[in-house]
Structures are given as structure tokens and as C-alpha cells.
């Protein structure tokens, strides 16, 4: 019994301490914005490695998700004779939910895990320590560009995901299932609101990008510098960021679209 209590106490203390460390880490990372302004090439390099290199998985997944939406939506809507609303259904689900959420989950798997492993290995091979001894702040030099690159690229990736998804839905709905093309586009145009749907979707993906970047970078920076420690940290990144993306999605949806 006492042992269990001790364990509970230790776990609580450890997780509180970790939360505190991660908050300081984030503040320090965000303060690196001035250094990025002086050296934009650091940010551009990271935009390429976290953003551009994630593009392939985002476009292909977006296409298939859109196609599935077109197919499933058609079967459901045709029961009610409302096939013409397929365009709205596909676009609304993508822009409001699937675009931000699925692209953030894919981003966590593709770029987040890579970031954790990279930072963790830099720590294990004393590169971060070496920078500190060369009087270069590793958080500002290594972490900040990656943090801002994630915050900038996730909304863009989500937008691309949604656009490609709409094309996928069109391909299946109009191309294969002969939904009227005019109705597909015009219903989408009249029913998707710029502020309610698109802006809210962008806000969601900015928040998700921020969350995934924070978790991935902190897990890497805080990793135990051994091969086992880095592998555990990488797993934690994918698990924790997927979990927080989904949980935050619920909270944000409730705030944006619900009457809670």
C-alpha cells in the first residue's frame, strides 16, 4: 500500500516536473524568433525538411480520403435522393475535420518522429553539449527554426490535404458515380462559409502543428541519451501527439461549432 502511494507520488512529481521543464523549453524556443529573423535560411532549411518532404504522404492520403468520402457520402446521400449535396459533404468534412486532424496525425508520424529522433541523437552524440560549449544556444539554433517551421507548414499541409481531398471526391462522385457536376460545385460554393469553415479549420491546424512540434522537440531534447531512450522518446512523440491532436480537436470543435 505504502509502495503504491510512493509510486503515485513519484509519478505525479515526475510528470509535474516534466511539464514545467517543457514550459520553460517552449518559452525559450519561442524566444528564438529574433534569431530566426536574423538568419532566415535556418528556417527555410527546416521548412523544406519538415514541410516539403511531408508533401507526398499528405497529397496521396488526401486523394484517397477524398475518394472514400465521395463513395461513402454518395451511398448515404442517395438513400435520401440528395446526391447533389455530395460536394458540400465532402468539402465540409475535409475543411472542418479531416483536413486538419488527419494531416496533423500524418505529420506527427512522418515529421514529428523524425524530429524527436534527430534531436535525441544530437543529444546522445554530444552535439547539443558541444554547441553550448561553443557559446551557441542549442535551443535557439536548433529548436526554434524547427518549431516555427512546423507551426507554418502544418496549416499549409492541411490546406493542401483538403484541396486534394475535394478533387478526390469529385473524381469519384462526378467521374464514376455521375453526380451532376454543376450541383457538386455550386452547392459547395454556397454552403461552405469562409469564416465558419475555412478559418476555423486553419486555426485548428495551427494549434495542432504547434502541439505536435512542441511534443516532438521536447521529447527529443529531454530524451535519455541512449539508443533505448531515443526510441522510447520517438514512440512517446507519436502516441502523445496523436492523442493530444484528437483531444484538442474535440475541445476546439466544441468551442467553434457547438453551443457549449
Amino acid at each position: 500500500m505504502i509502495y503504491l502511494l510512493q509510486r503515485l507520488g513519484r509519478t505525479t512529481c515526475n510528470s509535474l516536473a516534466k511539464t514545467g521543464r517543457s514550459a520553460f523549453f517552449l518559452a525559450h524556443g519561442l524566444s528564438g524568433v529574433t534569431d530566426i529573423a536574423l538568419r532566415p535560411y535556418l528556417l527555410i532549411k527546416q521548412l523544406y525538411s519538415v514541410g516539403v518532404l511531408t508533401l507526398l504522404i499528405i497529397t496521396i492520403s488526401g486523394l484517397f480520403v477524398g475518394m472514400v468520402l465521395g463513395l461513402q457520402g454518395y451511398y448515404t446521400l442517395s438513400d435520401f435522393g440528395a446526391e447533389e449535396s455530395l460536394g458540400v459533404m465532402v468539402a465540409a468534412s475535409l475543411v472542418r475535420e479531416l483536413g486538419p486532424v488527419v494531416s496533423a496525425l500524418l505529420f506527427a508520424g512522418r515529421a514529428g518522429s523524425a524530429l524527436t529522433a534527430e534531436i535525441g541523437l544530437m543529444k546522445a552524440t554530444e552535439q547539443l553539449s558541444g554547441m553550448e560549449m561553443m557559446a551557441v544556444d542549442p535551443i535557439k539554433r536548433i529548436i526554434s527554426p524547427r518549431l516555427f517551421a512546423c507551426i507554418l507548414s502544418v496549416p499549409l499541409l492541411a490546406a493542401i490535404f483538403s484541396s486534394i481531398g475535394v478533387i478526390g471526391g469529385h473524381l469519384v462522385g462526378v467521374g464514376m458515380l455521375s453526380v451532376d457536376e454543376g450541383a457538386f460545385w455550386s452547392q459547395m460554393q454556397s454552403n461552405i462559409d469562409f469564416y465558419d469553415d475555412i478559418v476555423n479549420g486553419i486555426i485548428k491546424s495551427v494549434v495542432f502543428g504547434f502541439m505536435v512540434a512542441w511534443i516532438a522537440l521536447f521529447e527529443g531534447y529531454d530524451a535519455v541519451p541512449t539508443s533505448e531512450g531515443v526510441s522510447r522518446a520517438t514512440t512517446r512523440t507519436v502516441v502523445n501527439s496523436s492523442f493530444s491532436v484528437l483531444a484538442l480537436d474535440f475541445i476546439l470543435t466544441a468551442l467553434m461549432f457547438g453551443d457549449i
Binding site: 552535439q127 553539449s129 554547441m131 560549449m133 561553443m134 557559446a135 551557441v136
Partner: protein, 276 residues
Amino acid sequence: MIPSMEKRGQPQNIVSIKNLSFSRHDRKIFDDISLQIPRGKITAIMGPSGTGKTTLLKLIGGQIKADQGEIKVDEQAIGELSLSGLYALRKKMGMLFQSGALLTDLTVYDNVAFPLREHTRLTESMIRTLVLMKLQAVGLRGARDLMPNQLSGGMARRVALARAIALDPTMIMYDEPFTGQDPISMGALLHLIKTLNNTLGLTSIIVSHDVQETAAIADYIFILANGKIVDQGTPPQIADTQSDWVKQFMGGDADGPVRFHYPAPDYADDLLMLGK
């Protein structure tokens, strides 16, 4: 040592540590130790693995904070410096990590240029000249376009050394520079450490357990064990030590005050399971 390199008015000791204590996870790593590191000399800190030799270098570099006591580098107390003050002081220190700690995404050239680009506003052509000079000093001018993963362990350490002297520091700390080196790279490193120290007027601190090699170039030796300084002196003084422990350590004997066997019940009893 070149006497003219010792500027007048500068205190004789570049690092002075007073009553330092440090523990990690309830284990005492340093227990009230004091030591002085003289300017312009090669000082070796030796001791068995796990005695916190690397920790001592990290304490001197201000990467971790001491629990008690005072560490002064160049008359500045490390514990009381602000982060920017600490970074300013670190520009005067070079550190050679055991792994080399080269940035793996940059070439040899860019690794050596890294501190110059971060801390100076020199033109690229000036940086090129300086980088080539530093690489020439370690004999790797021809390897400038290689990536760190194409270098052997000894070469990586020499590149790291070129990077450590890029900003012309007044002090270099070497963390286990000889571990895992073949005799030729070992000879090259020994020669480099000695000549750099003499020609650039540096102060060198070598942390090592390669006893013979380190003793060959050191001017003064501290031996650490169990959180204490167990012996100190010039290499001949250490060689004539009265302490059995230091004799065993310097000679590398398998058995002595430090037993070969980890404490265990009697061997015969154990085999016959009489103890259980």
C-alpha cells in the same frame, strides 16, 4: 613553456576550485575538493572510470551547477554568471568531447567555420583562410570536403580540435582524448596537444585514464578517486608515490588495494550452495 606568453599581472591560476561538492542521484561525485590549474601548463586529471572526471569539465564549463563550493575561471565565479556572461566566457574556452561532437550535417570545413560564423563578422574569404590554417595545424587540410561520417575516430577528434581552437581560446579542455585510438592517431594527438599548448600559449586540461600517455605530456597531475583528490604532483612525483592505490592505478595492476573481485561470499561455499 614560453615565458613571454605569460602576461604580466594575470593571476597564475586560470581555474581555481574551492571546496567543491557535487552529487547526482544521492551519489556523491565530488566531496569537498579544491584544486588549482596553472595558466599555460598542461594539467592532467586522472582517475578510474565513473569518478566524475567529465563532470568536472562540465562544472568548469558551467554546463552543470555545483551543489557547494566555488569555481573561478579567469577570476570569474562560474556559479554567479548570467547566461550571457557564461556564453562570453565560453568563447575563451575550447572543449574537445570524447565523441568529437561534430555536427553531422555539416562538412569538415563548415564544422570548423561554425564558431567563426556564429561569433564573428568576418568575410567568407577571411573565414576560409582561418579554417584552412586551423585544419593545416591538425594535418587535415585535405579532408575539408569530407562529412563527419567519412572520418575515422582519430580524424574526427582532430577536426574537433581544429574547431575548438578556431576562436583562439585561452584554455582547452580535453575529455578522454586518447580513448579508442590506435597507436598512430594516439601519437598524432599527443604531439598536437603538446605543440598547440606551447605554440599558442594555451592552458590545457586533459581528463583521461590513459595513464602512461597522459603522464608523458602533462606538467602536473591530479588523481581523483571516490570524490576526493587522492594524489597530486608532477609526473615524477606521482611515479614515486607512497600510496599503494596510486601505484596500482598508475601501473595498471589487476589486483591491489582495488580488488579484482567484486565483493562476494566465499567461492567454494558459493559453488556448493552452502550459503543458501
